[in-house]
Symmetry: D2
Subunit: 355 residues, 4 copies
């Protein structure tokens, strides 16, 4: 009797699921900024995706995102025998739907060519139809006229670069010289392109990570933590469309995928220190000091290369307090590399734990 009563709560919970809740994703803000969780690359039935555009909004809310762009292909519309080509269809269908749910919707499209130049997303546009031109350069020009942020997608995609290594071609240099290229995907779907660190640094591009989802998000990225959907974390002044845009053009991003973070040290370092808290020793005996490190974020941190007499490696499990037992021979701080915070093609973040 009582048990049934209790169970009835669960039913209410089930009934309400999907009615507009956004899951809280525990990624820390940087001082003076908010960390916006974003995905700027996804498809619907209006190009080669398999779902209706509102599904992308529902998925984003459920996953706790702050902003998304739906970016159907301009040049690849394999469903056109049944669904007439309308490059702004997804935008028209979702604009009000997203606004009423407090999700920032970025108007976007994907300019889809063979390599070079490969695929580019134009974000923060007004009208995708005007960008659909025969010459790819005309596409870019039309996008830039609308104030677009141009993002180079999966630059090492094996269908276009069989060895998986991103390369700058003439057209990319021309874009750079014009100031027309603003971002580049270091992560797409399940592919990571380490060389993008160098390309981005040399050309002052924002690092981006996206799902490029065509199917259903919950099936591509099942619930287990480690397979959470990839995100671009944008370090914005406020949670608004315009602040997001300002931050993107300013290159203030980190990329999250497979429990890893990739980004510039200037953003990665404060992200780490905002996520964790090192406590004072709670106990000591003759030989050993015990203290705790609290990781208040959804990202685990894998510390490696510990100094002598300290633990060689420590995992700061997500949303957990990790106890560290340390020999009295060692003096604070402990220095570690964070194996899953990538700050360059062959670099990871180095941090200190002061206890």
């Amino acid at each position: 009797m009582k048990k049934l009563f209790i169970i009835s709560f669960l039913l209410v919970a089930i009934a309400f699921t999907g009615s507009g809740q956004r899951k809280i994703v525990n990624f820390p803000d940087l001082p003076g900024y908010v960390t916006l969780k974003c995905d700027f690359h996804m498809h619907t039935v209006f190009s080669d995706g398999n779902v209706w555009p509102t599904v992308r909004i529902d998925e984003a809310l459920r996953d706790g995102l702050d902003a998304i762009a739906i970016t159907d292909h301009l040049e690849y519309t394999p469903k056109k025998d049944f669904v007439p080509v309308d490059h702004n269809a997804a935008w028209k269908i979702t604009e009000a739907y997203a606004r009423e749910r407090n999700l920032i919707l970025v108007h976007g499209t994907e300019i889809t060519r063979k390599m070079p130049p490969g695929h580019m997303n134009a974000l923060f546009i007004n009208d995708a139809a005007l960008i659909s031109r025969d010459s790819v350069w005309d596409c870019y020009e039309a996008a830039i006229k609308q104030g677009a942020f141009l993002q180079w997608n999966h630059p090492g995609w094996k269908s276009q670069q069989p060895d998986g290594i991103p390369r700058m071609y003439d057209i990319h240099h021309r874009l750079i010289n014009n100031g027309w290229l603003h971002g580049i995907e270091i992560f797409n779907d399940e592919s990571y392109y380490p060389q993008v660190f160098t390309i981005a640094r040399q050309n002052n591009l924002a690092l981006i990570g996206n799902s490029d989802v065509h199917a259903v998000i919950s099936e591509v990225y099942p619930e287990a933590e480690e397979s959470r959907r990839p995100m671009t974390l944008v370090i914005a002044k406020e949670r608004t469309h315009d602040s997001l845009k300002e931050a993107m053009f300013a290159g203030r991003t980190l990329v999250y995928f497979n429990d890893m973070l990739a980004g510039k040290e200037e953003f990665a370092k404060p992200f780490f220190y905002q996520a964790i808290k090192v406590g004072k020793p709670f106990y000591q005996n003759d030989k050993t000091i015990f203290f705790e490190v609290t990781n208040n974020s959804d990202v685990p941190f894998y510390l490696i290369n510990g100094i002598p007499n300290a633990p060689a490696s420590v995992t700061l499990v997500a949303n957990s307090v990790t106890r560290i037992a340390i020999s009295k021979k060692v003096t604070s701080p402990l220095v570690y590399d964070v194996k899953n915070i990538l700050t360059g093609e062959n670099e990871v973040l180095t941090i200190e734990l002061k206890y």
Copy 2:
């Protein structure tokens, strides 16, 4: 190749699991206090439990508890042919182990008699062996001499009260009159005793909820949120053994079980308001205002009995932001009953959402 690299992180994570991490349980603190997550009733191979005492410490850490008591039966030791009776064995085995892991260990025992008086836990004792006496009253007296907190266990246990209804007998009145009874379980394992609200109020007893676990915690309470292990939430001045004890004797507790909270309104109300945050409206159109309620806790709140023109019910999903769309005909605040915050035998908490 890359994928294997990524996967290798996970292995590290697995390897470190269990090495001392405490999961963070998101229950809010009350202003000026810390909310300690506790379980004061559990068994080991030293009475009729199935695990070694250190297992109880490991389980508690994994579940993010702050304090536990192991309370083996004084009078029921069915394994004694193989494990000699030692009423302080679990304490001796776990005291240093817990201290080095920053878990508050409360020395306890269970005085195990037929009803009346039924079972009582003596907590905050020094020596369980001295409490083992023939006369149950002598047991109580010996416990009180050690400064014990006496807690009446599962007062409506069907093996001792076939109708499941807790009843005060003479001996309970004598304990009350002596000032010797301090707490009472309103929840035990999977049993909820609503009448305990009244007994506790009339006799100034702290409300307590415990697992009374004999087997393995992770098997009795599998991971799904709604079956999380029961806890007594103690509203203490600090996270120390002595502050815990002070708060218990002062009766500052809430009980958590099956996604429900039970307790006095004076503690339940600030708990709710510390857990949630109502945002300013983020959008409105002709007819409707949209605002969000953030629930930063691990407890979902099921709001019911909404006023006319407002949603009849709203679920504030745990660790989620819930959007509420409300007619402009309605004026702030919205008033709701919280179906899963019990403040009396037939009472639930009433709250307001001011937007």
Copy 3:
């Protein structure tokens, strides 16, 4: 090193997921027949669903179904501003796709009217466009001309029957008298209509259960056993389109939903006995005989109302061997009601366990 090697297998597994596997669903065949798992009611972007038609095929394969029908509404096409109305679109898009994956695809459509007559599916048709007529009776006539199986959908749907109780109106009696109505949903999505047992019996209709899915199957019915998608189990002579059709018109069906079966005793009884096997006693002592019941199916069976001295209830967990300890005072067979095999509006199946 070794561990990475091992893990690499898992990656292979993940890579292959979705490449055409059908999960084996353990539902027993009846002697001389095969039990086909079917869902005859689902929607796509061509009416008010949210997915592309091929998604329905992929979902069905993953769930181990043998046959499905996509049944977009003829009269309700809210996406028509972006997706032109084509009543055969889903069929054209999926026919070859299903054939190459060994899924039986039934051509269908939903005739969507207010009550009476409510919604009807026409199954086994050739051309849905020809069935789209102003008069509902003309629709039925056109469907019957194509040899359709007419199935009355969710007859107690609260949007059309506020009290949730299915009722026969004149037009239903006319259909019956013409021999034009062949089946009726006793289960739809999450609604169960017990009165359908009586309507089906009086009018010789096949019992049907369907998902009526509009969103994504894996999100509506998450993986936990008890929320598995509803199915019509068709007892066919062979696993072919024509055998399926023959069995449907002959009314050889059982309905599976929420770990329950509903259907005629003549099918439910052999289903139960084919699913389980009662072993000979494996041990006995002075007072007790021990034997095992093997349940080789994915359906748990909840046995209740045991005879005196036998267990009052026994759960034959799915895909498990259940031990039964029985007093020697009892003589074989044990008689039980199977709580989750419904054979009538107020009837459940009674079975015997001979040990």
Copy 4:
């Protein structure tokens, strides 16, 4: 209302869990034999384990095992201050308990020495106390006198062999020469020793795989398929203690761990062919033939090294039907290596699919 009714079934199910069900593990029998699922290496509070012996029985039933041995250390009893040494304690406590649950219990113990000779289990003994001797050779002799099967445990354990490579020492050769050594672990806990294939072949030893569990099985091997507990599969004439013993001494075993099988080709090959069924082509077009392979077992099979024009690799997902689309240029049968069926130190099984 209805929903609550449905939910109530689940409660019944929960209530019955643990009441003696054995999960069915889908491993095929070989013609004329039954495949017994076994674990011959585990610990309790009577040596350095953390649980009471009956827990091992409950775990084994839940995991669908047919036989286990509890093998507490003779020489390592770190809990002896609280639990007096009794080498037969686990046996005495569980013998009747296992018999009433139809689990085959093998009486065993672990002779625990530094390397050489390392650790050995003595299985099928009568009295572990008589085997506890100062000289390890005396231990072996006493065990053999009782008819023991001697099993060399984790021969490459890094605490005893820092490079992880198993090596035969003089004492092992002496045991072999006496005919006293019968089996060897190729898998233990999470360690795999490939060189054991060669040692076993040269010395005619049965291959064994065990959990060597000290903690709680469900926590060491969480539910996900790929982490299922390791097992020795014994190919016995009947499901009895004596048939098990006969098969062990005859060396008819396969070892299952991490979704891999290791064993002699003479057992691995029929295991594979009993697990799968290749269907006749269900469809073909101009270029392609489509057929299905049914894998009725809980083991996935990863087929690699496909012939030209055939798929390079195919995963036969466990309990699933896999569709294979094959060019008409190819002629039946397809030949594959099975990546996860290990038949030697550097060998995997080769199989054919005839369609």
